[in-house]
């Protein structure tokens, strides 16, 4: 089962102006006073979601994990320091991390991150960063730099410390940066990042021409990945990795009953100290999860939204070849689209699932690929995705059955021990 996810939007201000970002870049900061009030409400919300949600569709119990988000969260370290003390003192809090572009890292911030034991998720577009992540002009924090890659170059020693042993970054793909995906992959691998989490923006921003380009470029990037496996290098590219895991779980057990955490077992705390399903809803102040009661009835019904946002329930998907494995796209975009997945995103999903299967076929005799697949199963590669109680032998048996029966395989209901992967946050 999933753990409740809280994203704390500590500011809506950012030093970068990424064209695909949906957060208004304005000078709003979450204050300590608002956070303290909201924290009390948050604890009630976690309890409410675990007691009123549909069985198997959300979190169970009081556990949760937290990510600081923005804007650029490093612009509000005062709040982060205060909030972290509260979260770390709460036994129900399993993890606290920061989702950041890391361009504003300083020695002082880095020391704090290490001392507080905060996780770090780096949003970094690699080679295309200067184009896809332009600096906000006339901002004090950006003074002295021409572009974001210069900022990173001057802070390489701090970046190394922030990433610790992880060689991971989140790379958003949008129509403006897909033409050099392969070169970007090579750039990141040369930097030592062997887990670049390339992920498409799952919004209706893709024209037919963009999709044509994406198809060509995705194929080219898959070819490069095959070369890496052939050379004995294990490189984990986010969208292919996600696809292989979703195929394995979807075809052997059942796909998960949520697309992402938004509104089903997660929320964002906005800069106003209010709660919404995610930052996109917060940016429009839509669908508040206030926790207020009217005549004894909560105003946000987790069970209702868990049913509405369950990718197993979308009527459009039921005749799709990917129905058993695909978790659709962004809930916000889909609600906007009559609560159905958006066609352009479906096309992208087909493209990278198709490439994932091709990679498996072409690499099946390569030792590096064999090692990679085995580690996906045993959790040796990324044990953060493997449920502690996962029964690997049971999963192997399920795969054997699926291989015998293909897509006619009958799905089995998810049980806590059969669910091999923890939830993977889906952004974009």
């Amino acid at each position: 089962m999933a753990t409740f996810t809280l994203e704390v939007s500590v500011t809506e201000k950012c030093n970068l102006a990424c064209p695909y970002c949906y957060v208004a870049n304005i000078d709003k900061f979450l204050s300590i006073e608002k956070f303290d009030k909201a924290f009390i409400e948050f604890k009630k919300m976690v309890h409410r979601s675990s007691t009123t949600g549909l069985p198997g569709s959300g979190n169970q119990g009081e556990k949760y994990h937290v990510s600081y988000f923005g804007g650029e969260p490093l612009l509000n370290m005062e709040l982060i320091r205060h909030a972290t003390r509260k979260f770390k003192a709460d036994p129900a809090c399993e993890h606290v991390g920061i989702i950041s572009n890391l361009s504003l890292l300083t020695e002082e911030i880095m020391e704090y991150i290490e001392k507080a034991g905060l996780g770090v998720s780096w949003s970094f577009d690699g080679l295309s960063s200067n184009e896809s992540r332009p600096l906000v002009k006339n901002m004090e924090e950006n003074k002295g730099y021409d572009n974001v890659l210069d900022m990173y170059n001057s802070k390489r020693h701090l970046l190394k410390r922030a990433l610790r042993n992880e060689r991971f970054c989140k790379v958003m793909l949008f129509p403006g940066n897909i033409e050099n995906m392969t070169e970007n992959l090579q750039f990141l691998v040369e930097m030592g990042i062997n887990c670049p989490d390339f992920m498409c923006v799952r919004d209706d921003i893709w024209s037919e021409e963009d999709i044509r380009v994406f198809r060509v470029e995705c194929h080219r990037m898959a070819d490069q990945l095959i070369k890496y496996f052939d050379q004995g290098k294990i490189i984990v590219i986010g969208m292919f990795h996600l696809a292989i895991r979703d195929i394995l779980i979807g075809m052997t057990k059942s796909k998960r009953p949520w697309g992402c955490f938004a509104g089903t077992h997660g929320a964002v705390m906005s800069v106003e100290g209010e709660f919404y399903p995610c930052a996109r809803f917060a940016s429009k102040k839509l669908l508040p999860m206030s926790g207020k009661e009217y005549n004894g009835v909560e105003d946000y019904d987790f069970a209702y939204w868990q049913k509405q946002l369950n990718p197993q329930n979308y009527s459009k998907c039921k005749s799709c070849k990917l129905y058993k494995v695909c978790n659709a796209g962004c809930s916000y975009s889909q609600i906007r689209n009559g609560n159905q997945p958006v066609d352009s995103v479906c096309e992208l999903n087909h493209i990278f699932y198709d490439e994932t299967l091709r990679i498996a076929e072409e690499c099946k005799n390569m030792p590096a690929y064999i090692e990679y697949v085995k580690k996906v199963f045993t959790g040796g590669w990324d044990n953060k995705y493997l449920h502690k109680n996962a029964d690997v032998n049971d999963i192997k048996e399920s795969i054997k059955r699926a291989a015998e029966q293909g897509s006619n395989h009958v799905l089995h209901p998810i049980t806590p021990t059969a669910m091999p992967y923890k939830e993977v946050a889906v952004y974009g």
Binding site: A17, P19, Y20, C21, P175, G176, D203, D204, I205, W206, E208, D210, I211, R212, R215, I247, K284, L286, L287, Y294, N295, G296, V297, D301, Y304, Q308, K316, C320, K321, V325, Y332, I335, R336, N337, G338, N339, Q340, V342, D343, C346, H350, I351, Y353, D354, L357, A360, E361, K364, Y369, I370, V373, K374, F377, I399, K400, A402, A403, Q405, G406, S407
Partner: protein, 72 residues
């Protein structure tokens, strides 16, 4: 009890209503790339299952391959 049920019906913001609100509030004023590409015309839902390309997606073969690998 009737009051409570009426209240739930009234209070629960149904999916269609939220979709309508998003479309009303989601104005294309932020970024040029979004302006050019992001916004559907209000109410223009994309719900076909037409695909631009043919995809093989042979899961049976995939699982045979994976099964061989896992049992190596």
């Amino acid at each position: 009890m009737g009051d409570v049920l009426d209240y739930i019906e009234k209070r629960q913001e149904k999916i269609g209503e939220i979709g309508r609100q998003i479309n009303e509030k989601d104005t294309p004023q932020k970024k040029l790339s979004r302006d050019n590409n992001l916004m559907l015309e209000t109410g223009e839902y994309s719900s076909s299952n037409h695909r631009m390309y043919k995809y093989d997606l042979n899961f049976k073969q995939f699982f045979k391959t994976i099964s061989e690998i896992v049992n190596k």
